[in-house]
């Protein structure tokens, strides 16, 4: 049923794509969700609040939708064969279908509040997908982090939109573009108003952050032998490279530089998903999640290993087109991004080499001879790998970029593409040499690095727990104890004073007054000038 839904969505997307070839303007559908008058005076743009659900479909949206639909289709197809033993199949399919809805909404939104809405739905559904395996403690604790961090950033996003609204009185892209005097051709990048409204320093900071992520992610992927984590981090590194190119495009005001970053992401997304699925097939067949225990996939699981190789290659080379168009190789930015590409290439091929070659050793309750490819699951990683490769090849041509954003872009020089592809090839060579010379040694070094990272993370988490979480939750706990104790004491005090008042009412008044008068006289006499002083 879920697969049927995705196929229908894909067919509809293709129909829209066909429709777009027949017209020069995007498809736009509008539904007025909120339209209320909040004031009758003051600036006119703050007198009403309007939130429209605007679905805006242009070429880039259609292509991105297709990429997402392919990924979802592969995930469901693969899961129906390989995840048969997982609990809650109906829940999984329902959540993933809803996720497709949220992703489609995000891509088509034309109002920033609407975008935030779909974004938040997507975040909640991602969390529910992670919660699918909540029975496991580790999955549960990771899912909590996976909820809290994106939720915090989602709220930052909301604050960003709120800031724009507070300043300009609108969050609709059609209204914001003329106010911000930005290139209307950039509206495919929905967060553009926030970026444009920020200053150059913020943009530089964004580029720095993406650069750090581009280098750190593949590096962290190489530390440790957990294959799916490594592929995911490698993919993040590749996406960060594309994001850096995109941000650089905004900084130098070049629409070409910006769109090439998006074209690269379109290639990376299916490749990363394909890599994860291929590795999951291998890990499932070999019953291990440790690269050091894997091997012989090329002989026993050739199809999965082949898909893994293609996806690793696509991820490593995916940014070449973007870099060739948008970054000078001799600049500081080029140097840093070249390093990132090198690391992505090394990290990608290392996973393939570790899983595909070397002995697959017998373990307890595991017989290597029984390792078999699950036939039906084969096609999905391949489909994703081919889709990624297709997007990669397309991203090298200016015509594709023209098609995506409807503007004219110059062609990248073949020499520049070759230079950046050469960086990736050098990375492949480094990985091949090190793994051919001593696979076990390389994996042992990775494992040691992984253990060090794990220890460091533990220390960091312990520090966060010690100095941030525990003190704050202790404050909450103490308050939790203090508030009832405090109001109980207040209640006792009130009750006691009431009883005293009642008791005082029964005491004869005259002697009390006389005693008080004498006591007061003594006190005044003592403190009066000339007695004590």
């Amino acid at each position: 049923m879920a697969m049927f839904g995705i196929v229908v969505t894909m067919l509809l997307t293709l129909l829209v794509a066909w429709g777009l070839t027949r017209r020069s303007t995007p498809f736009v559908a509008t539904y007025q969700y909120i339209n209320m008058s909040v004031a009758f005076s003051g600036p006119s743009n703050f007198q009403t609040f309007t939130l429209q659900l605007i679905l805006h479909v242009d070429h880039l949206t259609v292509v991105a939708l297709l990429a997402i639909e392919i990924c979802m289709m592969a995930a469901i197809g693969w899961h129906s064969l390989m995840g048969r033993t997982e609990p809650g199949a109906a829940r999984f399919h329902a959540v993933i279908t809803a996720l497709l809805f949220a992703c489609s909404g995000m891509l088509m939104s034309w109002d920033l509040a609407e975008l935030f809405g779909f974004w938040a739905i997507g975040g909640a559904l991602t969390y529910l997908l992670l919660a699918h395996r909540w029975g496991l403690d580790e999955a549960a604790s990771r899912a909590r982090v996976a909820l809290a961090l994106p939720f915090l950033t989602d709220l930052c996003f909301l604050c960003g939109i709120a800031w724009l609204y507070a300043r300009y009185g609108t969050q609709n892209l059609s209204s914001l573009v003329p106010i911000l005097h930005t290139n209307p051709g950039w509206t495919w990048f929905r967060l553009m108003p926030i970026v444009v409204a920020s200053n150059q320093q913020t943009l530089r900071a964004l580029i720095s952050v993406t650069l750090v992520a581009a280098i750190a992610a593949p590096l962290l992927g190489m530390l440790g032998n957990e294959p799916r984590r490594a592929v995911a981090l490698n993919g993040s590194g590749a996406v960060a490279v594309a994001a850096a190119v995109l941000m650089n495009g905004f900084q130098v005001q070049s629409s070409t530089f910006a769109i090439v970053g998006v074209a690269a992401v379109l290639a990376i997304a299916p490749a990363r998903a394909g890599g994860v699925l291929a590795l999951a097939s291998i890990a499932s067949a070999m019953r291990t999640d440790d690269l050091a225990e894997m091997g012989e996939a090329w002989r026993r699981l050739r199809a999965s290993a082949g898909a893994l190789l293609v996806t690793a290659a696509v991820m490593a080379v995916a940014d070449c087109g973007a870099l060739a168009f948008g970054v000078k190789s001799r600049s500081f930015l080029g140097f840093a991004l070249g390093e990132a590409v090198l690391l992505v290439a090394v990290g990608g091929l290392r996973i393939y080499l570790a899983a595909s070659f070397g002995p697959l050793r017998r373990r307890r309750a595991f017989e290597p001879e029984r390792v078999r490819q699950v036939e039906g699951a084969l096609g999905w990683p391949y489909l994703l790998a081919i889709a990624g490769a297709g997007f990669l090849v397309a991203s090298l041509f200016a015509g594709w970029l023209n098609f995506l954003d409807g503007q004219k872009h110059p062609a990248a020089s073949v020499g520049a593409i070759l230079v950046w592809a050469g960086v990736a090839i050098v990375g492949f060579a480094i990985a091949a040499v090190s793994y051919v010379r001593g696979k076990d040694g390389a994996l042992a070094a990775s494992a040691a690095g992984g253990a060090w990272v794990h220890r460091s993370l533990m220390v960091a988490f312990a520090g966060i727990d010690r100095f941030l979480i525990r003190p704050t939750t202790d404050i909450a706990r103490r308050l939790e104890d203090w508030v009832p104790a405090g109001d109980s004491a207040l209640g006792r005090f009130t009750s006691t004073s009431g009883q005293l008042a009642l008791a005082a009412g029964r005491v004869p008044a005259l002697p009390i007054v006389i005693v008080l008068a004498v006591a007061l006289a003594i006190v005044f006499a003592i403190v009066a000038p000339g007695v004590a002083r």
Binding site: F46, Q47, A113, I121, A143, L152, C156, C159, T473, D487
Partner: protein, 508 residues
Amino acid sequence: MSLLGIIFQNPSPSPAGVPGANIFSSPVLLSLTIWVPVIVAVAIAVMPNPRGRYDLLMKQIAFFCNLGLVFVLFIAYNQFESFLPTVQYEEKLAWLPSLGVTYHLGVDGPGLVMLLLSGLVGIASVLGSLGIRERVRAYFSLLLLAQAAVNGAIVSRDMFVLVLFWGASAIPLALLVAGWGGPRRTSAAWRLFAYWGLGTGVLAVGVFALYTVTGAQSFDMDTLLKSGVLSSRVQIAVALVMIVAAATRLPLFPLHGWVRDALSEGPPGTVVIIASAASRLGAFLLLRTVIAGMPVAGHLLSPVLAALAALTVGYAGLAALRTVDVRHAGAYLAMVPGGITVLGLAAISPLGIAGSVLSLFTGGLAAALIAGVCALTIAALALLGVPILASFSAEVMTFFGAFKNQPIGAFAVAAGLAVSAIAVAVLLRRVLFGSPNPEAPGVSDTSLGETWYLGLLAGGLLWVGLFPGGPKIPGTEVPLFDPGLLNQMTAGISDMASPYVAPTPPAQ
């Protein structure tokens, strides 16, 4: 234009009317919402019930009484003229002329929102109380009295009457907790009564201070708050008193001492009322008095309100994270919507105030769900303001409105919401996926009555979330049976927010 559009075309220049509007009207519409429950409560209380033979009948009477009230409220909602800034369905009778006390009732947009919340919650509370087996007669009498008092506090336009209803709502609710609650019900009931009693006392002091200062010889809200004679100092002093009174109800940190015990020990049907309509009265009071009636104090004290909102949301998240008791966690998380409502008020911008009014409704429903630790996933999503549910619109409007005047407060509340999200995740995991406690008694899923009441609360959130402006006939702007909560609530908000509107920039 389509055929349907032609048929339902509105000939008048006024906003599009709902088909069926103005069919029925009553000059005592609001009195019905107060006195019908009282009469039914008295009738139930004096009805003979030998050995509990008519327990079921009493439950049915309470249910149909609430159903009738919701029908009346739906008519009131449907007929409400959203383009009029004045109070509607007004009733005014002299009560104590020598003191200037009048029986003055009326609702504007925010009041209507509160009444709708109270009506929905009223039915939900009866459905949630179907499991009551002991002293059924007394239970349902008290429940109906509590609803009547809450409705009275919502619609009263005379501050003396407001104080009476405000205080009166505490008594039956505390008795319900004390009589039908969990093992620690006595202390929970005392705590609830003490805090709400304190709030009532403080409110009375504020009202009498206003009465004395204005010298108007009237307790009418319009006279006391819109007389224009309140100096800045008086406004600030009275506003501080009102904030304390509201903080005991809503509740706001640090006057939240009753929340944990009352919401975790109270019977489910009572918890629904306490967590939603009864406690939202706090924010409603702030809106009515500080924001609408004392603009100088509203401007000066808005940072205080924002700080209280941030502290409340942050504290609720942390406390829910820390506690190991699931019902305590639910009780703490029920404080979060109140914080968001107060942030909207602290925004002192028209949009923020509108957002806080909407969050009175959405927050009330979400708090009722989460405090009952039921329909957990929906409750959690509603609490965090996930789209499709109505709380999304309320949070977006509140944050958008708050960012201009209270950016730090908005950031702080956002951070508190992130902590609450973690707490929600922990709660969901413990309840849905945690290992069962072998010493705990056997569990069972919700009964039919509970399912209906959860469905009602969740359905309210979903309906307003999907159609905040009401469903329209396709292709037209003509509303179907529901004119839209967002449209109806705007009546009066512009008037309240007018002192906070930014000046129009000079023409270039």
